[in-house]
């Protein structure tokens, strides 16, 4: 059977989608070649937010780099903070007090929920449903309030330190977190009733931009995008770090619930289900957290021995890997950040061939990319 484009040939058009476009989640530019409504080719153009974060890393000390990691993935700053701290600790062989590790896991999982809420909210808004976005922001606001109590900031936290965290949790915060979890957990089925199984929504996402498990691995997809293709790989389980081995949770994968395994709907659903798992992790962490110090002794002039380390952490958007080379001085010699969204954009051109323009919006939303992390 002939495709649309072959049966009714029209003149090809070159369209600029972005860099200023509400559905590209920031300053992503997609150069579209279309035949009518059908996309012949969609080429992503990134780099509009490039701030030379890797170059800056070579000129500041290890501790001074912490606030820059906030600006990597600003919807999950806690996770980026912690990833940097874990990398440096691995390089220098620093033992972190257990309470500090629990605090890190608690703030990271709260941040994961906040980040997935934005992913859920903005994705549904892209698909034309405005109400879920307000629901998501309402819940995220309560997480921001918690973080404000923890460290004084609502977006870029700069809370984690090399060897621990900047301050112990304020009194009563764990109770407030439990209170939030009790409030939040029943909301997830509410989202599903509100939008997830809405017929129009499902039609927009099911069987769109299917990525096979083999393709997902070969193209370096990680996090929810990889699990959406049915690959049960989660660094918190498969390459455990911090206190994750002591916490029980399930790895959510795409099941082809409404279409094919690896379509946009699966990637969306993985995030919804992961929020439930994060709630599970948080409840256990709150029950298990020990008393004790929250900061290891780290010398003021901090010079790790020469060496190279690659550490990766499971962030809301996938594997944030940091390749760190030390030459024994106070500054990192080389600092490479492997950003999950950046690698994810690699497959974009391949899977968008032959889709409709409106599907492009669905694909971008389902990848849950964030531009400051792509451009660094």
């Amino acid at each position: 059977m002939k495709s649309h484009a072959e049966a009714l040939p029209t003149q090809e058009m070159l369209i600029n989608m972005g860099p200023q476009h509400p559905s590209t989640h920031g300053v992503l530019r997609v150069i579209l070649r279309t035949d009518g409504e059908v996309v012949v080719n969609a080429r992503p153009d990134v780099g509009y937010l490039h701030r030379a974060l890797e170059k800056i890393g070579e000129r500041v000390t290890y501790a001074q780099y912490m606030p820059f990691t906030d600006r990597l993935d600003y919807l999950a700053s806690m996770n980026c903070n912690a990833a940097w701290a874990w990398t440096v600790e691995k390089l220098a062989g620093i033992e972190v007090p257990e309470r500090a590790e629990y605090i890190r896991v608690i703030v990271c999982e709260l941040n994961r929920i906040a980040s997935h809420l934005i992913a859920f909210g903005s994705f549904t808004a892209d698909m034309g449903a405005f109400t879920p976005f307000l629901y998501a922001i309402r819940e995220r606001e309560r997480i921001n309030d918690l973080f404000e109590e923890v460290c004084g900031n609502r977006l870029t936290y700069n809370y984690v330190r090399i060897g621990g965290v900047s301050a112990d949790l304020p009194e009563g915060l764990l109770d407030k977190t439990t209170e939030f979890l009790d409030y939040f957990e029943p909301k997830i089925p509410e989202y599903n009733n509100l939008i997830s199984y809405n017929k129009i929504f499902v039609h927009r996402l099911a069987n769109v931009a299917v990525i096979s498990p083999e393709e997902a691995v070969a193209y370096g997809l990680t996090g929810p995008n990889l699990r959406g293709s049915g690959v049960p790989f989660d660094l918190r389980k498969d390459e455990p770090y911090s206190v994750y081995p002591k916490l029980e949770f399930d790895v959510c994968v795409g099941t082809g619930e409404r279409g094919t395994v690896g379509d946009c709907f699966d990637r969306y659903m993985v995030r919804i289900n992961e929020m439930k798992e994060s709630v599970k992790i948080l409840r256990q962490a709150i029950a298990q957290i020990p008393d004790g110090p929250v900061q290891a002794k780290v010398p003021r002039v901090f010079k790790p021995a020469a060496g190279e380390v690659y550490f990766r952490a499971e962030n809301p958007r996938g594997e944030t890997g940091i390749y760190l080379i030390s030459d024994g001085t106070v500054n990192p010699y080389r600092l490479k950040i492997r950003a999950p969204s950046f690698v994810t954009m690699n497959i974009f051109e391949k899977i968008t061939k032959g889709l409709m323009i409106s599907d492009i919006v669905a694909v971008i939303g389902s990848f849950d990319i964030i531009l400051p992390e792509i451009d660094r």
Binding site: G47, H50, E308, N346
Partner: protein, 156 residues
């Protein structure tokens, strides 16, 4: 498999093309290989049963002052092991064969390395600048990079 066993297997297969093993203070350990043989070694690492390095985690350029390097961090989801592979390149006209045919994930990371280090990846499907403007001069992550005073006549 332990990295050591993997390196032994590589040595028995490629002999002198495995130039050096770097382990001291390095995680995961690196096998330094000769740049000419890189595509062949990459294919072997991916396809050999028991190794099956199906995932390229990270590809980075490094400027070691007297020479450049490209570091490949590999992981196998099937066998759950990981190693690093490194090639050293000369300061003048650094270039190495692209591995995007072996691991498609390489393309964007190779473009980034080309953009910021000026390392050319021969045979790449699409090698253009990615983060900087197309008309940018120089490669900023090189250690000897001079900061420009003007960009298109505008003082920076």
């Amino acid at each position: 498999m332990e990295p050591k066993a993997i390196f032994d297997l590589l040595k028995s297969r490629f002999g002198g093309d495995i130039l050096e093993i770097q382990e001291e203070g390095i995680s995961p350990p690196f096998a330094v290989v000769s740049p000419e043989k890189l595509p062949e070694i990459a294919r072997f690492l991916r396809d050999e049963p028991g190794l099956s390095f199906d995932s390229l985690m990270c590809l980075s350029g490094v400027d070691y002052k007297e020479r450049f390097a490209v570091a490949y961090h590999l992981h196998s989801l099937k066998e759950t092991h990981r190693i690093g592979v490194k090639v050293y390149l000369p300061k003048e006209n650094p270039s190495v064969q692209s591995v995007d045919a072996v691991w498609p994930a390489a393309n964007f990371m190779e473009r980034e390395t080309y953009d910021l280090y000026g390392i050319v990846f021969e045979g790449s499907i699409d090698l253009r600048r990615i983060l900087l403007p197309e008309d940018w001069e120089g490669h900023p992550l090189r250690k000897d990079y001079k900061y420009p005073e003007f960009y298109h006549g505008i003082k920076v």
